[in-house]
Amino acid sequence: MHVTAVQTDGVFSILWLVIALPALGALVLLAGGKRTDKWGHWLGVATVAASFVLSLILFFALLGKDEGERQYTQHLWNWFSAGSYSVNIDLLYDPLSAVFLLLITGVGALIHVYSVGYMEHDERRRRFFGYLNLFVASMLVLVLAADYVGVFLGWEGVGLASYLLIGFWQHKPSAAAAAKKAFVINRVGDIGLSLGASLIFVTFGSTSFAVVSAHADKASGATLTAIGLLLLLAACGKSAQFPLQTWLLDAMEGPTPVSALIHAATMVTAGVYLIVRSNFIFSLTEDARTGVIIVGTITLLMGAVIGCAKDDIKKALAGSTMSQIGYMVLAAGLGPAGYAFAIFHLLTHGFFKANMFLGAGSVMHGMDDDVNMRHYGALRKAMPITFATFGIGYLAILGVPPFAGFWSKDKIIETAFGDNFLVGMCALIGAGVTAFYMTRLMLLTFGTTKRWEKGVHPHESPKVMTYPLIALAVLSAGGGLLLAGDWIVDWLTPVVGEHEEHHLAVGAVGMSLIALAVVAAGVAVAWFLVGKRPVPKEAPSKVSVFTRAARADLYGDAFNDEVIIKPGVVGIRGLATVDRSVVDGLVEGLAVALTAISATFRRVQNGLVRSYALTLLGGAALVLLTLLAVNFG
């Protein structure tokens, strides 16, 4: 749909403050040094909470407008310009950014509160909050920017915050390596965004959403497909989609609130945002959409399979995140039929996955930071609140009615079937596998028997941590209300265009029943394989090829190692040798050669007067002969 926004006025002119508050918080916390240690974390919470309040005000103001008028831009300043190309720092507030604002600041505020408790004993807590605030500010820039380059600013900002937070405990080499890996792989995705923006400029003479959306239909199909695929590459990097998925599992090295906020609820969904935001391009190019669907489908299955084999509770959840984002990308690739559901699932996933990650953090908090689920078991009594809230998240991700995930995931599966039977089947199978690994996770953690290490005394987390859990559990339970009366679909219509309905042979209810049956099957398999058998403390080593592959993240890292890193290292070493011996060698060699030549010729200078005299005579004779030859020749 066209972006034809009007300038902000009245209440909407506070839009910039939503970003400015957390940015200010980050500035104070990071530049303030030790002076802010005592109260810094509360400042971090306060700025994000204030942003949330502002977002609510803005949201209701937007709700009060007519459907056609729900787009506002705020011009802040001209960023840079060159020739006819000009990029402004403009904010675009429309229904899509409105829901993102609520998600980011709302879930963000809850996670900030939770972190006050979670990071209590970390001496660098202030810095943690500084980074978190930086993240929130960048993420807000990402979703509010009205220009692809503006999106890029937020895009890299969240990448930086993610880098800093994954590597927050950087004294651990694994954390530092994971942080670097995340950043570098994201940069590979950024190639897509840089080139995409360049191609957009070449095509439209501008990179602002307003111009591009107004003229997209005039561009050639091949150009649009190229733009779409480049943006897809960017999305793959940020959203950990195949083939750039490997960083997400390693990113779990970061503190758990980070995993919840950045690597579950918000940042990793930026790719989905980008695709949905660029609907004016994707709607016009079937080919690019097909690419999006393929990527989404592959990733949703990959993530689910990886999730099945992980004993690390956070990595199991990370696999699940990959898989769920795969669903969103798939939905986004379905075009006008799926945009709204992609965003809907993004929101509900934000609720229940943040909920479960924080729950996992709460479990780790009680288990002395042990992440191995084989050392858990029977925690439901020791941590009743965590268990209850986690359970709600579990039911939500499984898609059990009436919890949030049921409404959103069901819609995606349904739409996928409407588009293509094979894709629909993959989505359906993904749901079954999800049920399996989540049930396994629940059983290993809260069910079965105690397998605690010696000296571990699980206990419920403090209130500052459990209250956010309860809030998120409520959202996970009731998030489905957004779909009541197709509200979310209608709400997003001004952004993504009129919704297309597919009608299935089995009907919507029939589809839901089939999905539920598959989920039930997944749960049952998990119950018999995990719940009914004793759980060994060490992961069994004699396992099938498939399990081994899943444990190795389906060889994504191995592939990168063998195909990119190892040849790269050899190549760079070779290049260094070439630089020293050939490129520099040519010049240094010239100097050596000159020295050698002069060493030979200076031998003539032997100090014997008579030989000089002979040379003189020879020379004179030569001159004479030449003269004779010239004059009489």
Partner: protein, 99 residues
């Protein structure tokens, strides 16, 4: 008057001097050979002066004599000094000024 005998004599003298410079080792003899060559050229200059009927050649010959005298002063002094320090007047022994 034919200039040929004078020029031939000059050439013979010059060649003797030249061969002497190239073949003899004793610095004094080399020196004398150099003088011989200078004087051979003087003879040629004077001959041409006479033949051409002007004084240019004679003037040049005077210059050569002055230079030769100056050379004797410096050259003999150097040879003497070298002889004193090394007990030898052979030009092959004094080959310190090399690469």
């Amino acid at each position: 008057m034919s200039v040929t005998p004078f020029i031939v004599l000059s050439a013979i003298l010059f060649t003797i001097g030249c061969v002497g410079v190239l073949t003899r080792r004793n610095a004094i003899v080399v020196f004398m050979c150099v003088e011989l060559m200078l004087n051979a050229s003087n003879l040629a200059l004077v001959t041409f002066s006479r033949a051409n009927g002007n004084l240019d050649g004679q003037i040049a010959a005077f210059f050569v004599m002055v230079v030769a005298a100056a050379e004797v002063v410096v050259g003999l002094a150097i040879i003497m000094t070298i002889f004193r320090s090394r007990r030898s007047a052979s030009v092959d022994d004094a080959s310190l000024l090399k690469y």
